[in-house]
């Protein structure tokens, strides 16, 4: 069965407005969408990419181009794709970037029908996109009060597009709607609705700009958390992505909770051991995990002192307020105890050896 994605085209007519689309928009939908499909572009080769979940519409992926051929100075074209949250969770966005296209000439009818969802494998991150990825992951999954703007070299914001899409697709399905982003010429530090902004410059005055941005142009002042390697090509990063992807269903939209889990998995626990623990936990508490379960898990992980070994992790979780049948706790502990191999020096390798 072919899936389809709705599309909308905005341009300047009597103001910046909907020019064509495969669906109509109610007044409230338009009011909610308009701020995200408009821009003040500063050069003719600038283009912004926006990804954001809107309560009335679903997830919107949009690109904005200058429109110097339109009658008003500063007019722009915006092509937006509207993705249902169920599709976002099931498919991710990696194949949709290639659908975004700027109108040329009068072929606006092409924007009036839903588009078939392309069947394409994710692009491999390379070059500047791969180099930017850890900083983007840090901004997206770091502390909720931490930096949300990433400053990159001029022109690299375009490469960031692929890394942002890869990051969104690597998140647990339940967490994808919570990742919003925008690439632009100048990031705004105040009043931005986006979780991550990527830009070569900053707009406005801010006395807190040093604390509010991650500068991808320079080495970080403090070592980044290990989980910022989430999008690397390494086996460890691949295991991390797999571990994340298994957290398949929940209503929660907390990226902070995901980063807590990531931190706990990578902080001291050998990756393979963490997987073992996770499997045992899943056996005891089969997914889908409720938000309350994830809350309890995150709390238990936060309270457990690092380095966190899988057994300790499980004990902490099982001792927590998860409502696990007390008679089964011993069984789970036994399973873990039998399969768990204490790591040797070298961490991950030891854990891998133990599992295999």
């Amino acid at each position: 069965v072919t899936a389809f994605v709705d599309q909308l085209l905005f341009g300047y007519r009597n103001g910046h407005e909907l020019i064509a689309g495969s669906r109509t928009l109610s007044a409230s939908e338009q009011r909610e969408l308009l701020p995200h499909v408009d821009a003040s572009l500063e050069s003719e080769d600038e283009r912004d990419l926006i990804g954001i979940s809107l309560p009335s519409l679903g997830y919107v992926l949009a690109r904005i181009w200058p429109a110097p051929e339109l009658p008003r100075r500063g007019a722009v074209w915006t092509h937006a794709l509207v993705v249902g949250l169920a599709e976002l969770r099931a498919r991710g966005l990696h194949s949709l970037l290639r659908l975004l296209r700027r109108p040329s000439g009068d072929e606006l009818d092409a924007y009036s029908a839903p588009l078939p969802w392309p069947d394409a494998a994710p692009d491999r991150l390379a070059g500047p996109a791969a180099a930017l990825a850890p900083t983007l992951v840090w901004a997206a999954l770091g502390e909720p009060d931490g930096p949300r703007a990433v400053i990159c070299k001029q022109g690299e914001e375009r490469h960031a597009e692929h890394a942002l899409i890869a990051l969104l697709d690597a998140l647990p399905p339940f967490a994808r709607p919570a990742l919003s982003f925008r690439t632009r010429a100048r990031a705004r530090l105040e009043g931005s609705p986006y979780r991550v902004q990527v830009a070569p410059g900053l707009a406005g005055r801010s006395e807190e700009s040093d604390r509010a941005v991650l500068d991808a142009r320079r080495p970080p002042a403090t070592p980044p958390p290990r989980w910022t390697a989430l999008l690397d090509e390494s086996p460890a990063a691949s295991r991390l992505r797999n571990a994340l992807a298994r957290r398949v269903d929940s209503d929660t939209e907390s990226l902070a909770r995901v980063s807590t889990i990531l931190e706990s998995i990578t902080a001291g626990a050998p990756a393979a051991g963490a997987e073992l623990a996770e499997r045992a936990l899943a056996a005891e508490l089969p997914p889908p995990w409720s938000p309350a379960t994830l809350d309890a898990l995150a709390r238990a992980l936060e309270e457990a002192p690092p380095p966190l070994l899988p057994t300790a992790l499980l004990e902490a979780v099982l001792a927590g307020p998860l409502g696990v049948d007390p008679e089964r706790r011993a069984d789970v502990g036994e399973v873990v105890g039998a399969r768990h191999v204490e790591p040797r020096e070298g961490g991950d390798q030891a854990g891998e050896g133990g599992e295999r």
């Binding site: 103001g15 409230s28 338009q30 009011r31 408009d38 003040s40 100075r73 707009a203 406005g204």
Partner: protein, 260 residues
């Protein structure tokens, strides 16, 4: 020295001269062409204002304001012994257009009105009446966007009266005033926007008002006549309600005098 704060809200649909007015006012203040008003300091980022002045200097109209704009004119002013903090957030006209079309409040505008000391209501003297057929446009189906400007302005002000019990001083700004040529701004309003004129006259206590003509560019950049060699702050001017030409500060001075 007395000190005060004044927050003004811009009410105007797209391409009615809101940003141009702010840029021209900023240019007049920075270059001491604002009569009794003196600029003490700028409070917020002035980059968009400086860029706007550069555009005017190149005889280019301003770029349109994006819907999600965070730009504002925020300055500290001195008038005699009085100091005043003036805060005027720039607004995209599209959100107001959408609000009038859908007859549903824009939450941001609704919030701004609560603590506004006054409002600048913009009409464009060069805008063709959208209800006037031209070419093949008589086949266009009716939409709220085809309502005459004064009808839309009255619709907006009625909504304002519903939510704001306190008086709201209104400076009606007729932009692109250099295109008008003869008469006073007050006459223009009576002749070209009669419903709005009647409406405002009926609410002198709740909507005290004055009408100003503003030429922020000082002329039409699309014609040779509009491209004189003066600096932007020397070209820009305001026509008072009685048509006397004065500085860009005049509407602000009117607010100061109209506000107890």
């Amino acid at each position: 020295m007395a000190a005060g704060r004044m927050k003004l809200v811009l009410l105007g649909e797209q391409a009615t001269g809101k940003s141009s007015m702010l840029v021209a006012l900023y240019g007049a203040l920075v270059n001491r062409c604002a009569g009794d008003l003196r600029l003490a300091r700028t409070i917020d980022d002035v980059e968009f204002l400086s860029r706007g002045l550069e555009s005017f200097g190149r005889h280019q109209s301003l770029r349109r304001t994006e819907v999600d704009s965070s730009a504002r004119l925020a300055v500290e002013l001195v008038r005699g012994e009085q100091t005043l903090t003036l805060d005027v957030p720039d607004r995209s006209g599209e959100m107001l257009k959408h609000m009038i079309d859908s007859r549903a409040w824009d939450p941001d505008l609704r919030g701004q009105l609560d603590d506004a000391g006054g409002a600048l209501l913009f009409l464009n003297a060069g805008r063709r009446d959208p209800a006037t057929p031209g070419g093949d446009e008589h086949d266009v189906p009716w939409t709220p966007a085809l309502m005459p400007d004064d009808v839309r302005a009255v619709d907006l002000l009625q909504a304002v009266l519903d939510v704001r019990p306190e008086p709201l001083p209104i400076a009606v700004i007729v932009s692109a005033w250099d295109l008008v040529g003869v008469g006073s701004p007050q006459q223009w309003l009576a002749e070209r926007a009669p419903l709005l004129d009647q409406f405002l006259r009926n609410y002198p206590d709740r909507l005290p008002h004055a009408v100003f003509g503003v030429s922020a560019q000082g002329g039409d950049f699309s014609t040779t006549d509009g491209r004189d060699d003066h600096d932007p702050w020397e070209r820009a001017y305001v026509a008072r309600p009685d048509a006397v030409r004065t500085t860009l500060a005049e509407p602000i001075l009117w607010f100061l005098d109209a506000t107890p």
